[in-house]
Structure formats: structure tokens, C-alpha cells
Symmetry: C2
């Protein structure tokens, strides 16, 4: 029986040209985040199924690849439900495993602890162009830092990294879960319906303010509340200093400290940033994950119509593992999107060594072969890249293929050197 040549549904093989760009980006990311004091850690790709099903992952919990129990032989006759068969799953993000990691190792880690994780995650999404069921995430997180220094450092580190990868002119959008809640409360939406309101507000980018208003009404919210809510966003759009205006407008609904905190983040980032971008308060920014408790932010590339990074504060997650909450804040780069943009723009990895191919005729062997290899070894020691290969029958095609791989110089070795 012939075996299947294709990767499993929705996952992909990565060819050398893409891997070269990925390796380059990972190098830049690790070096830049390192400068900010982030240290790499890793957790297993497999997590306990209970940890993955704890209502922290929102919709992602429906997309878990589940792994059969090992050990006692599976008994299909007595298995009544999935839980009898399954005890692990592939992680759907790096944040839940990181909180578990921190809970497990806090005694061995400094405070604050600044973590960098680059790793694959898996989600069984409906396969579609550019979306895969295995993809790489690249997260930085700070544990144990309650002040906005965490947000400032996360934003500076992420934007510096994007800058070093050649991105500029992007926009950091920032908001606060507590501002979102205050705006909804001010407009008269009952507290238990806030999450529904936010899910609709999250579509602002796609359907505009009229679309949001229409959908809120369709969902049975009071006309009065919807109008008040819409008016808030309209007025805000005309304000020079939206945060100051907001603090005044929402008096009684919002702790002024929340606004001051956000203002300090925006101003600190503006005055110390190391790359070319803007940072703005965006009252319509929602971010889906239910674990966020304070600041939320993302990075938009308006010219491409996409966001390429997102994060926020989640001060309650470690407590799910230990019973004691620990301040936590993170920022995740959409690694696959970054790679796709670089691939499509024809990005060339800088600083590659000169590539030479030695093509050796079939008959060259023994001492003659040793001499060719010794020459290659010397060039490698001197920093060059040398491919040593047998000459194919179709030498011209072989050279064409190697040219495509970036080989610039070809040296041919024949049994009869006069040939």
C-alpha cells in the first residue's frame, strides 16, 4: 500500500526558502527581546486536557486536538464519553501553558519574570487560504509587575522588534477593559449583557458604527442605550485628546486612575520608542480572549488591513493554578502573518555567506576525492558555504536548480583534469 505524500489536513510542510526567512526572523526576535531582559522558556506541546478546557480559551477550546490516553489498553466497550479516552491535548495558545509553568516554577524564577516563548500551537479551524491548523506563536509576557511599566516595556520591545524586521508606519491601538465596561454602563447596558455588547462592538472595523448600532438593536438592546453608546464614539472621534475627554465624560463610572495609567503608557511609549509608528487610544478595541482584566492592545498595519500583534493584562490567570493571583501582562506577535508579508514582498535575508557548489564527476574517487573535500573544508573554515555533490547527467539543469537556491559559483572536478 502506498503511503500518503500529503501533510495531514490543514497543516503544511515548510520549504527551504520560507525556513530561511523564519530562522532569520526568530534570530532577530530572540536577540531584540533579549536586550529587554526577556529569557526564553518552553513548555510541552501537549497539556492536560483539564487545563485546556477551563473556559479561559474562549472559542479556541472547541478547536482542540485531543490525544488518546496511553497506558491501560483502551476499552471501547466500557468507554461512555470522550473523557474516558482522552487525557491530553495539543495546546491552542502559549498563554495558558505559561501560567501553568509560572505556577509550577515561581520559586525558581526572578520577580518580575520576563518570558519569551516561540512555539507551535494547534487549532482545528476550518482549513482556508493562509490559515493553518499548526502555526507558530511568538509571545512575551511579564509576571509580577503590577505597574504599567509592564505595558510600556512590552510595547517598546514588540515595536522595536517589528522595526528591526523592516516594518514601519504601523499603529499601536490601546484600550482598557474597565473603559469598555464604563462606556457600556454609562450608556445603560445592563452589566450581564456587557460581553454581548463587546462581541458586537468588536466588529466596528468591518461593519462601521452604523452596523454596530443596527446589530445592537437587532439583539434587543434599548434604543436609548444604543444611541447614547453610538454618540459616545462619535463625539470621541472628534476629540484631540480622547482619553482626557473620556475621563471627564465617564465621571462616576470610571476610576480616573485608569485613564491616567493609560495616558502614562501612551506618553512613555511616544517619547522613548525606537522605531517609526503611532500609538493611539482606540475605544472600540475589544480583543476576544476572556482572560483579559485590564489594558488591551494590538498592532494594526492599516495599509494591509490586518493586525499583526495583540496582547493585554490578565491578572487572574495564575490564581486559577495556585489560588493566588499574580499580575501578568503579555504581547503576542502574529508570527505567521509577519512571515507571509515578508515572503510576499520578496524579502531577502541579509548577511548570507557566499555559496559555492563543487560538482564532482562520477569517476573521481580515492585521493582525488579527498583533495576536493579538503579544499571544501578549508573554504568552510574561512566562512564560505560549499556544497559538495556528484555531477548529475544533466549538468546544466543541476546548475539551474542550484542557482535558484542561491549558488553563485560553480567549480567542476573531472577524473581527467584536462577534460
Amino acid at each position: 500500500m502506498a503511503l500518503s505524500k500529503k501533510p495531514v489536513t490543514g497543516m503544511k510542510d515548510i520549504l527551504p526558502a520560507e525556513m530561511q526567512i523564519r530562522d532569520y526572523c526568530i534570530g532577530v526576535i530572540k536577540e531584540t527581546y533579549g536586550k529587554f531582559g526577556f529569557t526564553s522558556i518552553e513548555t510541552p506541546c501537549v497539556e492536560n486536557i483539564a487545563n485546556l478546557s477551563s473556559k479561559q480559551g474562549g472559542e479556541n477550546e472547541k478547536l482542540i486536538f485531543k490525544i488518546l490516553k496511553r497506558g491501560e489498553k483502551l476499552n471501547l466497550e466500557t468507554a461512555r464519553e470522550e473523557a474516558d479516552l482522552v487525557d491530553g491535548g495539543l495546546r491552542y495558545d502559549l498563554t495558558v501553558p505559561l501560567a501553568r509553568f509560572y505556577a509550577n516554577h515561581a520559586n525558581e524564577l526572578p520577580s518580575p519574570f520576563k518570558a519569551l516563548q516561540i512555539g507551535n500551537v494547534w487549532r482545528a479551524e476550518r482549513p482556508q487560504k493562509g490559515r493553518y491548523r499548526q502555526f507558530m506563536q511568538c509571545d512575551i509576557d511579564i509576571f509580577g509587575e503590577p505597574s504599567n511599566l509592564a505595558e510600556i516595556e512590552l510595547i517598546l520591545a514588540t515595536t522595536t522588534t517589528l522595526g528591526r524586521l523592516g516594518f514601519q508606519g504601523f499603529q499601536v491601538r490601546i484600550n482598557e477593559r474597565r473603559i469598555l465596561k464604563a462606556m457600556a454602563a454609562y450608556s445603560g447596558f445592563p452589566e450581564e449583557s456587557h460581553d454581548t455588547v463587546f462581541i458586537i462592538l468588536d466588529k466596528m472595523d468591518k461593519i462601521g458604527p452604523e452596523g454596530v448600532a443596527a446589530e445592537l438593536l437587532e439583539n434587543g438592546f434599548a434604543k436609548d442605550s444604543v444611541e447614547k453608546y453610538t454618540a459616545l464614539f462619535e463625539e470621541l472621534a472628534g476629540e484631540q485628546d480622547g482619553l482626557a475627554w473620556m475621563a471627564e465624560k465617564l465621571q462616576g463610572f470610571l476610576d480616573p486612575q485608569v485613564v491616567q495609567n493609560l495616558q502614562e503608557i501612551v506618553e512613555s511609549v511616544r517619547s522613548t520608542k525606537a522605531s517609526e509608528f503611532t500609538i493611539v487610544f482606540d475605544p472600540a478595541l475589544v480583543r476576544g480572549m476572556s482572560y483579559y482584566t485590564g489594558t488591551i492592545f494590538e498592532i494594526a498595519m492599516p495599509q494591509l488591513g490586518i493586525s499583526c500583534a495583540g496582547g493585554g493584562r490578565y491578572d487572574k490567570m495564575v490564581g486559577r493554578f495556585t489560588g493566588n493571583d499574580v499580575p501578568a501582562c503579555g504581547f503576542s506577535i502574529g508570527f505567521e502573518r509577519i512571515i507571509l508579508i515578508l515572503m510576499e514582498s520578496g524579502f531577502q535575508v541579509p548577511g548570507q555567506p557566499k555559496k559555492t557548489a563543487y560538482l564532482i564527476e562520477k569517476g573521481v574517487s580515492g585521493q582525488a576525492l579527498c583533495e576536493v573535500i579538503a579544499k571544501a573544508q578549508q573554504t568552510r573554515r574561512d566562512g564560505g558555504q560549499v556544497l559538495v555533490a556528484r555531477m548529475n547527467k544533466n549538468k546544466k539543469f543541476q546548475k539551474e536548480q542550484l542557482s535558484k537556491e542561491g549558488y553563485e559559483e560553480f567549480v567542476e572536478f573531472y577524473k581527467d583534469p584536462l577534460k
Copy 2:
């Protein structure tokens, strides 16, 4: 309900100190193999269960982590066997997925194709010290090269890499499946029992020649054959040039080309190697995987009593996917063993930037905070590593922790600069 803090059974979290060494090794490996013209590729961690259960993985096929089908809801009532529930599994090595990759993409790849893979694999082994159910493998493979140039390049690349990681005095042991078979045939073991003979021979390192002879007899093999076999190994041990002696002794059982081929590999490696090691013919080297078809080799570190790399030629695997065989040869470094040895030897990663920690008193905010951050940004631009953190109540303990992380310089910032 509190969630589980521990990683899943048999898998481990990797802390910053180990990650730093792993990242360093991966960097050296990618750079060194790159010089030899190996290009990185990646396949998904999940493979079709049929590809993983095709009798190529030997014992590893019993250790697969199996993944539940997605899509149509699982129907436990009608499921009669595991195959009704499972369609994927976590890969147990990188070789089977690589053969699938090559079969799938051969048209887009140069010939010969030299691949580098660094990735995790999973085996549900009984948990024990130093052995984990998720571990990293680091493989190089050459497809499309029928001559021993493949073996020579693989051995040179792997030994150069180990040398650059600081290892020396190790021993490359090399053998040939066809020599193994000729020795067994010469001794009179029937062909269908050769695999059993080799499994016993494989214990030579642990139980010595007497142990091997005893176990062969226990398994019911003819005394005559066992004695002839044992004598072969004894005589060989006394020979200066074992390969030449072998070629003569096994006349009629072994194609002289096989020996000549091996001799050329040994001599080429000896005369062109770039690090300090020996290469020897080892007639007792077996290697377990059933897919090997020719040369087999491994690297032993006699002072530690372990082997740290292994590989060989497997010319029949691509044919399982396409119907057409393609010459293939690979060498795999035992990445986790290398890391363990480096960790235990107190290895320090060279070339680290100077690490400075800025500790900021709680009250420092606004303009004053911006100035501290700006200073940190400047130092980072200049190549330094700066951690910016709030000063903890117990500053002494905080500094002690940071010293352990390698921070050498501490700068303190107070609200009242005269403090």
C-alpha cells in the same frame, strides 16, 4: 477547581538557563550545517496515522501518541476499533516525515537535496530519569546521492558541528548492513534468523562477546555457527586493518565493492576532518531501525559510555511513498544528550552582552520614568541588555535573584534623587 501545575506525565518544562544553552547549540548547529549546504525544512508535528504505522519505525510504532479525529462528532456507540476514532498521531522521528516531504515536493527541490531538521518528536516511553516523552531531534539527510559522498559529507558535517560545540576525543563507528549479513551467512546462520542474530549482537557493548555467544546458544542457534561467529569477531579484533582482512575472509559472501566503499569513507574522513576524533570499523554495530539498507554509523563518547549520534543509509523509504526508490542517507545528533552533557559540565554560553538591571522606586512616574526608559533604550541600541523593573520591597533579595540570572550591574532610581 484548581488546575494542574505539573506538565503532562513524562514531559518537561524548560527553564531559562537550559533554554539559553539550547538556543546557543541550535545556532551553532544551523550555522555549521549551513556551511555544508544543508537547508532547513519543517514538517507538521502531526502525521497521518497510516504513515506512522507502516512498519518502518520498529518498536517506536508502539509508542505513538494518537490524536482523535476532528469533524463529524465522535460516535462512541458505533466505534468498534481505534481506527474509527483516530486519524493522526504525533511523529516518533523526523525520518519518516522527511521521506513523505521529499516524495511530496521532489519537483521543487534540487538534486541532491540536503535537508536539516531540528524538531520535537514524541514517544510514550515509560518515564525515567533523563528520558522524556517529548524530545528534540536534530537530523541531516541527503536525498539523491547514491555514492559514498553522502556518507563522507554527513560524517564531516556532524563531527565538525560536535567539535564546534566543544566535544572532542569521540569515536565514529561505522559498519554496513551487508557486512553484518555476510558475517552471519559465513557463520551458517539461516537468512530468516539474521534479524534475531543482530538483535543479540547489538548487546555486545553491554554483555561482551561471551554474553552474545551464550544468548545465541540460548536462542537455539547451532553451536557450530555460534563458535564460527565468535571466532570471526575475535580474530578481527587482532587485525590492524579489519576491513581488508574481512574482505578476504568473507570472499564469496560479500561483494568486495562494499568493503572498498567503506574504506574510502574512512580514509576520506580521516584525511579531511576538522575536529579531534577517531573513525573505526565496528563489525558489532547494528543500529535498530529496520529501514537501513547499507552503511550505518554512530558516534560514541567512550569516557561517558554513551552514543550521541547515529545514522545510516535507507535507500528504500521514499519508494514506500512514490513507488520509486531514491538514495537516502542521514545522520541524527542526540540533541537532548548533548544538552544534558553541557548542562552537567557547567557550560557557559559565550558572547553574552553585558547585563544591567535598572531598579525603579515605586513613586517614579511621568517624565522621570520616561527618562529612565530612554536611558535603557539608548543602552539597548548600543548593544547592551537592560532589564527595567520596579524595585521590590526586599531589594536585596531581588538583586540576589538577578545576580543568579547573570546581571552584573544594578542602577537604582528613586523619586527623591538625594535618597
